[in-house]
Amino acid sequence: MKKDQQDNHLIQKSPVRLKGMGDSLCVTLDPALPVDALQKELSILFKRCATLAVNAKVILDTGEKECYEELIESLGSFLKSTFGVGSVSAMLKKKRLPELPDSEEDIRKRDVEDAWRHYRSEVLMLMGRVRSGQKVTAGNHLLILGDVNPGAEVWAGGDILIMGSLRGTAVAGQPENEKAIVLALDFQPTQIQIGGIVGAGLPPSSKKQVEFAHVENDTIVVEAYLDANAFGRLPWLQVR
């Protein structure tokens, strides 16, 4: 009994998981791990399957991001030689593209709890005041607890979030990510740039509310954040 629980626990935690899918075996694995670690995990699983693995069709799922053709090839040859599996292929990517409407089944299959477990944060989080003449640059997202004064510039590869007043220039989504946003608790920027689109001469809003800028039809649109609630409407949690 105790061993069983332990086993369950191992399967839950392990970076490699096996499940039946139609007439084939689907192996979900974390491509961020080194190859030998993955091989070790795979051997544990496939030893248990024993004869079931012989001549079986195996699909390797490396998650939603890029394809890992080399990794799949090397793991495939390893599985074929060690356990005599029939064929090894990659998971079809188009099923995983978030733009396409997912079927009910796909949504259920998505591992909602774990999608961001191996995601490493790339947010530059600073506190203080960015003064005139200073320029803050972040490779990905930028979060500032404090204010951005007029004459200062904040520049980011991804989103810019200012927990304070934004009165300087904000340049987000560089060089060409037009999905980036600029958000500030007190939104009074001199200029906004998202991707290649410049929003100069934005009318100042006197309303004291949280606002954010995003790109809509190649123009920069500023909206009240809580009213628009753009991210609150997403069906499940996603890594940004």
Binding site: R129, R131, S132, G133, D147, P150, G151, A152
Partner: protein, 270 residues
């Protein structure tokens, strides 16, 4: 090693020109001297000498700050004693050189000599953030940033504050040239908004005052004119710098609004 008895070097700066650095230096220096401290005011605007005119000492210049720093004369020879206010000395700028004749390292050494002789040394910094600023800031212990309630002045002051922090000097703020009537109408930046953006310690609010022009043109110290509002404000700033940190900051009020003042006292209105 710095001795406790050594003087403090305070640089008066603003970034932008024409906001009242020279007037502030002359007035605060005079006020500190009236408190019985030995004060030197140093004009660092080399090539564009002004402070001597404002203090009415232009006809007594023999040596200047460049001579003193380069060792061509003794400090005592370069420091001009003010005849009206005891303990007040001016070290004038050179009018014929430019700012590159001095280097920050030389100024640091000169600062050590000044500290031994005076209780307060006020450096009148030139506009801009180039060599003249570097020289003025090199030996400073403290800084007073003068800012006018204008957007352009606030932005330049903000830049200077960033540079001062980078040199580990914590600046204090004086807002100069406030016109209370315009603030009331909403045509001029409120001092609260300025402090909000700059977020450094405020040590004084100085109203616009015609007496400043009179005093500058005649070379008489502003703080000696009892009816001058700006002079009074600078005197309070000097007291605050001299240790009276609990002296309340007076907000300049528009004249002729008796009932509004009564209302404000009773807690009515804004």
């Amino acid at each position: 090693m710095r001795c406790i008895l050594d003087g403090r070097i305070i640089v008066i700066t603003s970034g932008k020109g024409g906001v009242g650095k020279t007037t502030a230096t002359a007035s605060i220096g005079a006020a500190l001297a009236l408190e019985g401290r030995r004060v030197a005011v140093v004009d660092m605007d080399i090539g564009l000498r002004n402070l001597d005119v404002v203090m009415g000492l232009e006809n007594r210049i023999v040596f200047n700050v460049v001579d003193a720093v380069k060792g061509k004369c003794k400090l005592k020879q370069a420091a001009i004693k003010d005849r009206r206010i005891e303990n007040l000395y001016l070290i004038p700028a050179s009018q014929s050189d430019n700012k590159n004749v001095l280097a920050p390292e030389e100024m640091e050494r000169f600062g050590e000599i000044l500290r031994k002789e005076f209780d307060y040394i006020l450096m009148d910094c030139p506009a801009g953030i180039e060599r003249g600023f570097e020289n003025s800031v090199a030996s400073a212990d403290e800084a007073v940033v003068i800012c006018a309630p204008e957007v352009s002045s606030v932005r330049d002051a903000d830049r200077v504050i960033g540079l001062l922090y980078a040199k580990s000097i914590t600046p204090k703020l004086v807002i100069n040239r406030i016109i209370p009537e315009m603030v009331e109408r909403g045509d001029m930046l409120n001092h609260i908004d300025v402090v909000d953006v700059l977020s450094i310690e405020l040590i004084g609010l100085v109203p616009m005052d015609d007496q400043v022009i009179v005093a500058t043109n005649t070379g008489t110290p502003l703080v000696l004119q009892r009816k001058s509002k700006a002079g009074e404000a600078f005197r309070r700033i000097a007291l605050r710098l001299n240790g009276m940190t609990d002296l309340p900051i007076e907000v300049p009020q528009a004249e002729g609004h008796f009932w509004r003042k009564v209302g404000a006292k009773l807690g009515l209105g804004k």
